[in-house]
């Protein structure tokens, strides 16, 4: 076995994951090659040195904080705006994989929609009793307010407000 091959196996050698035969070959090589032996020892010590880093544990508030953040995040993520207008209506009503239905439905839907629209502006007042629409800014402001409230009670603990809104906005963009 030559030095190049031995060096490729050194990580496995240090972790004792080599086959018995390969391990024996590496060991025999290192008995005669001080450079590889020195390298192996240095790498093993480096791995050991990295392990001086202590294990951390989450704070007792971790789960409680998550319980507060999660419903807000879920609510925000479900507000993904659907495509508006006739296109949106079609995309909601066309079965997947049968997009050609849309080609038939589109002119029909457009005609029906125009009829309904013309009829509605003649008969009904312009105010409709639909669900109140809250703007994205209003939502984010609500989240920010909640965090501000929390941060004022626990000034040193809650630094996640900005992260959360960034997360939520990017999570929604991903969809």
């Amino acid at each position: 076995m030559h030095c190049g091959k031995v060096r490729k196996l050194l990580a496995d050698y240090a972790d004792e994951t080599l086959s018995m035969r390969a391990e024996e070959q590496v060991r025999r090589h290192m008995e005669g090659c001080r450079r590889c032996a020195g390298l192996a020892e240095g790498l093993a010590r480096t791995a050991a040195l990295v392990r001086v880093l202590p294990r951390l544990e989450t704070s007792p508030e971790f789960v409680r904080n998550l319980r507060r953040h999660l419903p807000v995040a879920v609510a925000l993520s479900r507000r993904t705006p659907e495509p508006a207008g006739v296109r949106g209506w079609l995309s909601r009503h066309t079965p997947r994989g049968r997009q050609h239905y849309g080609l038939v439905l589109a002119p029909l839907a457009l005609a029906v929609a125009l009829l309904v629209y013309a009829w509605s502006i003649r008969t009904a007042p312009l105010v409709t009793a639909s669900e109140p629409v809250i703007s994205e800014t209003a939502y984010l402001a609500a989240v920010a307010r909640e965090h501000a409230l929390y941060a004022s009670e626990h000034p040193l603990m809650d630094t996640s407000a900005a992260n959360l809104s960034v997360t939520l906005v990017s999570a929604r963009k991903d969809r």
Binding site: T46, L49, V52, L66
Partner: protein, 193 residues
């Protein structure tokens, strides 16, 4: 008896947040440690929250092709890489000659005297801070592998699955990461002998 991860995931897909809390409890410390060591961030716990929120929002996309743990680490890795990219724009490159920051304030970087009590010195906060800062000088790719393997104790094949790279690449990155760390921490590595 412990309920299997995949069963809990199925319950999460039905909006069962109690099931999710069991998963969170199972993995919160692992993810915290990975995130803290990868990012070196003081707000590692907030980043960990972000990981668990992202995971919950995406849980319907989890198909069970890999383990839940692998999937979670992958999200953690993405959150960290993203954060690191954002913050490194503002970060001033530091050199190993700079003072080490510890919780007791800044102290000058000096090589400890190994002749005394090496165990005690090895446990010192100063050395921990030095190792952490040296980890941060590695590239994302090397850093993720060395943390997953040497600190999280993850086997090669799981690392390959988490980072979606071949096992051979995991091994070569681990080798390169340890070489780079050895060179940067040479006085400490050699002094231990």
């Amino acid at each position: 008896m412990e309920v299997a991860d995949l069963l809990l995931v199925e319950r999460c897909k039905q909006d069962d947040t109690d099931a999710y809390e069991v998963l969170v409890d199972r993995y919160r410390n692992k993810i915290l440690n990975y995130v803290a060591r990868f990012s070196g961030a003081a707000d590692a716990e907030d980043l960990t929250q972000e990981v668990f929120i992202k995971a919950y929002l995406a849980i319907r996309k989890f198909q069970g092709k890999s383990s839940f743990q692998t999937w979670l680490y992958r999200i953690a890795n993405n959150v960290c890489v993203d954060r690191y990219r954002r913050s490194s724009r503002d970060r001033i490159a530091y050199s190993l000659d700079d003072p080490v920051e510890t919780e007791d304030g800044e102290v000058a970087r000096e090589i400890p005297d190994w002749s005394g009590d090496p165990e005690g010195v090895a446990q010192s906060r100063e050395l921990q801070a030095l190792v952490q800062q040296t980890l941060l000088t590695l590239s994302d790719k090397l850093r993720s592998v060395v943390i997953l393997h040497d600190l999280e104790g993850m086997p090669y094949d799981e690392i390959a699955e988490t980072l979606q790279i071949p096992v051979g690449t995991v091994k070569s990155r681990l080798f390169n990461a340890r070489m780079e760390l050895r060179n940067k921490l040479r006085p400490y590595v050699e002094g231990q002998g």
